[in-house]
């Protein structure tokens, strides 16, 4: 017999795809299961289930402080990136001028820099002015990571909005600011939601740049986890990881609903 029946090829194909998906999701699934393990050793599958590690998490002041710093930082970074990103995106889509493409390149260029290099560069600048391990220093450090994404998502939305609506409003006597507030802003809300969610989760999850610039001062959650995991692995970190994953999932849902995950995250 020369060719196998079609059904067999289909089955093999499906098995291969499912296996690849399992590999991709394995670390997240395992972390999730282990976080409910009652024992102190990482056992799989766990013999007994409990919420013990989540309870211990609530009493771990180091983790709680890290969570607090990361939340504050993420919110401030997102607010600043949105303001800065929307104004820049407006200028870059609504005006035509020489050097426009160059500026688009400049605003998105931090995406192309390895995080270790960016982290070191920021450490060298923030060190002498005493901003290592402070909120202002951390906000500055994270801005270079989030602005490119916000500028890009907002530009995507602005390009999709028909500029003639804005022109009609202007012709009818609305001031530029009123036009922006009443016409443009409602139309680009999906871009703002996607950009904001992305910016928050990038800041919230960032480990490498933060590792360079936290010093001995304010420490973000991913840095706390990184340092903890360097020395020991126990289910408490698994519980904490699940908390982090929940934040990521919320961001994923928001971005997917607003603009589509694939569009927002493809580089180049």
């Amino acid at each position: 017999m020369k060719y196998l029946p079609e059904a067999i090829y289909r089955t093999i194909g499906a098995v291969v795809v499912i296996a690849c998906y399992l590999f991709l999701l394995a670390p997240l699934l395992v972390v999730f299961v282990i976080s409910f393990d009652a024992g102190a050793n990482l056992e799989f599958p766990p013999k007994e289930w409990s919420l013990r590690w989540y309870a211990e998490l609530a009493g771990n002041s180091e983790f709680l402080e890290g969570l607090r710093v990361s939340l504050v930082l993420g919110l401030v970074v997102t607010a600043v990136s949105l303001i800065v990103g929307v104004t820049a995106a407006l200028a870059l889509t609504r005006y035509d001028f020489t050097g426009r493409d160059g500026l688009v390149g400049l605003f998105t260029s931090p995406l192309l820099l390895p995080s270790v290099v960016l982290g070191l560069a920021l450490l060298l600048v923030l060190g002498p002015v005493g901003l290592v391990g402070t909120y202002p220093g951390l906000v500055l450090a994270h801005l270079s990571l989030t602005i490119p994404y916000v500028v890009r998502t907002v530009m995507m939305s602005l390009n999709a909005v028909d500029a003639s609506c804005e022109q009609a409003a202007r012709t009818l006597g609305a001031s530029p600011f009123t036009t922006f507030r009443r016409i443009t802003l409602p139309l680009i809300t999906p871009g703002l939601i996607a950009g904001g969610a992305l910016s928050f989760i990038i800041s919230f999850d960032e480990a490498v740049v933060s590792l360079f610039v936290v010093g001995t001062g304010r420490t973000t959650l991913p840095v706390v986890v990184f340092r903890y995991v360097s020395n020991n692995t126990d289910p408490q970190v698994a519980a904490l990881s699940v908390v982090l994953i929940v934040f990521s999932l919320a961001a994923v849902v928001l971005i997917e609903r607003a603009l589509g995950l694939k569009r927002v995250l493809s580089r180049a």
């Binding site: 020369k2 079609e6 194909g13 291969v16 690849c20 998906y21 590999f23 991709l24 999701l25 394995a26 670390p27 997240l28 395992v30 972390v31 990482l42 799989f44 303001i83 800065v84 990103g85 104004t87 820049a88 407006l90 200028a91 889509t93 005006y95 035509d96 605003f107 260029s109 820099l113 390895p114 270790v116 290099v117 960016l118 070191l120 560069a121 920021l122 450490l123 060298l124 600048v125 500055l140 270079s144 602005i147 500028v151 500029a163 530029p176 992305l198 480990a207 590792l211 360079f212 990184f226 995991v229 692995t233 698994a238 990521s248 999932l249 961001a251 994923v252 971005i255 995950l261 493809s266």
Partner: protein, 297 residues
């Protein structure tokens, strides 16, 4: 559409002094933010690489190529640079191999679940690499999931050493790079038409031959852009090599971190960064050329 919009708006806003002022005012916050958080640090890094370290970590202001000479004549640096590139190639090949089936499936399927499955493949990008690496530590450590399952089944008597070495770093990095590979490949798979395959099939080609002669060659541009993307991200990865390598696997990124935070030799760390940036840049330019070529078909 984009061009038309811009032309129309420009006829309204070009020239006038007020519009130029408005434009400048809109651009100012962004330029300041990018300048302070990105351009200045980068320039400072380049400047720092020309300084000198004398004695034990005493910084001397200078304009000297000394740190570059030191870095480029250091055998250890060449060794880790070589190891970094090897790791890059190995991870790239494996990541492409396990991402290809998912990307092809997602590019093809007409399932109602396509949106969900697409999100599932890309979503891990937005989870912290620290968390995903921790997941791999629990999977691969000596008393981890894989080893306890293997010994439970009686396959192995001694635990396999899968962490604190290169093996663990490779496995975890492959998984962490998959979403990037999948995104890049789906973008490149647009030209793999199902009709061509059907035609080949109806002309009597078997499934395997159809894949090898039609599908795979047509998907190569997507594979190549995906591969370059994974490669540049792998050679600059830090968290996974450090945590999975347990301090025993050295790559350029871990060396930069050690020089900057432990040895405190900033000129050397900066020179190493410029070296990494150079490697990164070369492959990135290649990637963008390819991506445009593939997208603009």
């Amino acid at each position: 559409m984009d061009g038309v919009t811009r032309m129309r708006t420009s006829s309204r806003s070009s020239g006038g002094r007020t519009s130029r002022a408005a434009r400048a005012a809109l651009l100012a916050p962004g330029l300041v933010a990018i300048g302070v958080s990105f351009l200045v640090p980068l320039a400072w890094l380049a400047r720092m690489s020309l300084n000198r370290t004398v004695g034990s970590a005493e910084l001397q202001s200078a304009v000297s190529p000394q740190s570059y000479v030191d870095v480029l004549t250091d055998e250890f640096v060449w060794k880790i640079a070589w190891q970094t590139l090897q790791l890059g190639v190995l991870v790239t090949v494996l990541a492409i191999a396990v991402s290809y089936p998912i990307a092809l499936f997602l590019a093809r399927t007409r399932s109602r679940l396509r949106g969900l499955l697409m999100a599932l493949a890309i979503a891990p990008l937005l989870t912290s690499s620290v968390v995903r690496t921790f997941g791999w530590l629990t999977l691969l450590s000596d008393d981890g999931v894989v080893n306890s399952v293997l010994s439970g089944l009686g396959v192995t008597s001694e635990p396999l050493t899968l962490t604190n070495n290169r093996t663990g770093v490779v496995i975890a990095l492959v998984e962490i790079m998959m979403p990037y590979a999948i995104i890049a490949m789906i973008a490149g798979f647009g030209r793999v038409s199902k009709d061509l395959e059907d035609a080949a099939g109806s002309l009597g080609a078997g499934r395997l031959r159809c894949f090898l002669r039609i599908t795979f060659p047509l998907s190569l541009p997507g594979v190549l852009t995906g591969a370059l993307m994974v490669f540049v991200l792998t050679i600059s990865a830090f968290v996974t090599p450090r945590l999975m390598g347990g301090g025993r696997v050295f790559v350029i990124a871990t060396e930069i971190f050690d020089q900057a935070t432990t040895t405190l030799d900033w000129p050397r760390a900066s020179a190493l960064s410029i070296l990494l940036l150079f490697l990164f840049g070369v492959f990135l330019v290649l990637y963008q050329r390819l991506f445009r070529l593939v997208e603009g078909r």
